[in-house]
Amino acid sequence: MTMTASNEDLGYTPSTKGLWSWITTIDHKRIGILYAVSSLVFFIVGGLEALLIRTQLATPNGTVLSADAYNQLFTMHGLTMVFAVVMPIAAAFQNYFVPLMVGARDVAFPRLNAFAYWLFLMSVILLTSSFFLGGSPDGAWTGYAPLSTEIQEYVRMDYYSIGAQLLGIASLASSVNFVATIFTMRAPGMTLMRVPVFVCMTVVTSFLLIFSLPVIGVGLWQIFFDRNFGALFYEAQAAGDPLLWQHLFWIFGHPEVYVLILPAMGIVSEILPVFSRKPLFGYSFVVFSGIAIGFLGFGVWAHHMFTAGMGPVAEAGFGLATMLIAIPTGVKIFNWIGTMWGGRITFATPMLFSIGFIAMFVIGGLSGVTHAIIPADTQQHDSYYVVAHFHYVLFGGAVFGYVAAAYYWFPKWTGKMLSETIGKWHFWLMFAGFNLTFAPQHILGLDGMPRRTYRYGEGMGWDVWNMMSTIGSYLIAISFLFFIWNVIVSYRKGKVAGNDPWDGRTLEWTTTSPPPVHNFDQIPVVHHLDDFWYRKYGVDEEGRSVKLPPELVPPPDVVVEEHGIHMPSPSFYPIVSAIGIAILGAGLVFISSGPIGIAILAVGAVIALWGLVGWAAEPVTRGGH
């Protein structure tokens, strides 16, 4: 039976209004929007932390922050930006677009998806509440033992161990979901070598998280047990080995940096072909180099530990493996350049940010290779050179990529275009501000300025560079005001986008903007990579591809569904489970404070159990049949 879906066919009519509909939503698109909004809010939090840090360091002997406040701020800046900004903004785009790009109606496990979001949000709230309740983590996002285990009078590093633990569980849930979705729910005909690169990078990212998060999970529990139950994992006097923490942390920590960058690389691989009006150059090379980066990413963790004294053999091995990663990364860069080469390029805002991504990432990548040279790294270790390097890859790389994605996909989210004029102001201000902030830090680092220190003396020759860096950081902040302004103005009265404003190549552009609850009235059958493009374009006598007039574009082959469309029903058990687990976590943070901690823990456990049991007992679809 063929049918055009209306809400009556869905078995229920999902309410899309009011707070309750957002709390109980399990629609991957709405969860994507929740991730994006949360990420933007925490970007402001993390950005303010950064501005405070830069204000303190603008002049020698800064007096804005105490050493104690500085330690908390730089630790929280790292944790916020990694776990509450970059990971969730990647999750936002993955949630919204992976099902659309593979031609599915939702992710594999919509309630698990909602649970992952709420647990992420509750964990970040728990972590951020530490500013007001007992003090924030102050041992850097790396939480090196024994610094993180020895000072037990404060709960600060308990927030770290529990907060990161819960965030890990949330990411794990969403990663398992993406793997199951992409492996088993692609539209007919979409083989694994026909998926968009962004989807492919989502698989790689998910596997990186699936195999690295449990390792840091163990480390975080060890820190927690050392701090609260007298365990001796990192107590050197009892033959515990603090170096173990560094290994466990970086076995997670290094794949984690690819988790932050690979989705951005996927996004750029989607945007460049659209605005160059050419297919991605060497699709299979881009895919396999991404997979290679994923594999190699597990074999290079100890390059963060060259000064820890592992011995020359281990250091040489990890140094070589690190240099090896430059090869698949270089392959990608050349493929991107090859995609643009000879294309008819339009410099729309998403394209500008993508090109910015490539340029900045190359700089960050090259300074990264200098870390693989062990004697050089020994000099650079713990200096501002390292800070410059990872901001070039994580801000100049990842954040540029995600902002490009925001400009590229905003029309699909809202049905409105973001303003190109404001967008270009945003780009050039951010580009200038970014380089002004972080380029001088290379020089500061090579000149010996250590990172993680709250002030520096006069007469070190660092004053000018630091002042430049601080001015740059304010420019970045201003550029994001342009972005927020753009979002608000364009959402209200932006140009109407239509289904396919950029002449796109992937399936999300075949449906309406914003897409209906069930994404596609009929599931398309895919015959090519970039199937949509092949339907829109024909070949003229001279072999050039020409755009077919709309009436000549053939409709896609579609799957005929015999039983109509059944969308899963909203559920509030995911948020109940997430709140329960977060309260349980708060109880663990205060477990050493006596009965109060245990009481909070018990309350959390009861709520979590209620949520999880209710969830398991609840059918996936209510009503309908």
Binding site: L192, V218, A231, V559
Partner: protein, 203 residues
Amino acid sequence: MTTTTDGVFERQDDFESTGDPIHRTRKTAMWVWLGSEAFFFGAMISTFLLYRHATNGGPGAEIFNIPFTSASSFVLLMSSLTMVLADHAFQRSDQRQGRIWLIGTALLGLTFIAGQIFEFSEFVHEGLKISTSPFGSSFYMLTGFHGLHVAGGVLMLTMLIAFSLRGRLSSDHGMNVELVALYWHFVDIVWIVIFTVVYLLQI
């Protein structure tokens, strides 16, 4: 079977497919998650191997009671057998027999946990606490987290039994016998590794 306008089209499979697609999706997810769990236990086993001689003057591996733990290991292994029988019974739609095997599996799991509690209290009595030595810390963490996984399994089995009694054990629910069985066997296999590496080899 899904068909297209241009003829019969079968959904292409990258994985061995049995039955209904949602089942395949759930099983894929469970395997992937168990892969993650393997790394979780792997990291704890590595920690234990690193600290196996770090006894800090307290008791070391000589404290283990191999006959006792062999017996409780046997109990846990037998629970895998009963789990297989439960899964088979439900595939034949024999709810009553399936329930009996599920109850048997849960009871064997509880016996194992009881054995572990007894073992821990004996060890504490003999002077091995989590705070005695890195050896003690890593031993209790590894076996304790394994015990928690068994307990989680027992909770899921209990829920399956309850669902079955109320006639709500259908493919409409995310949790089903086959998935719990996969998890249960995995937890068993992890115990085989722990028992071998921690108790038997004593390298």
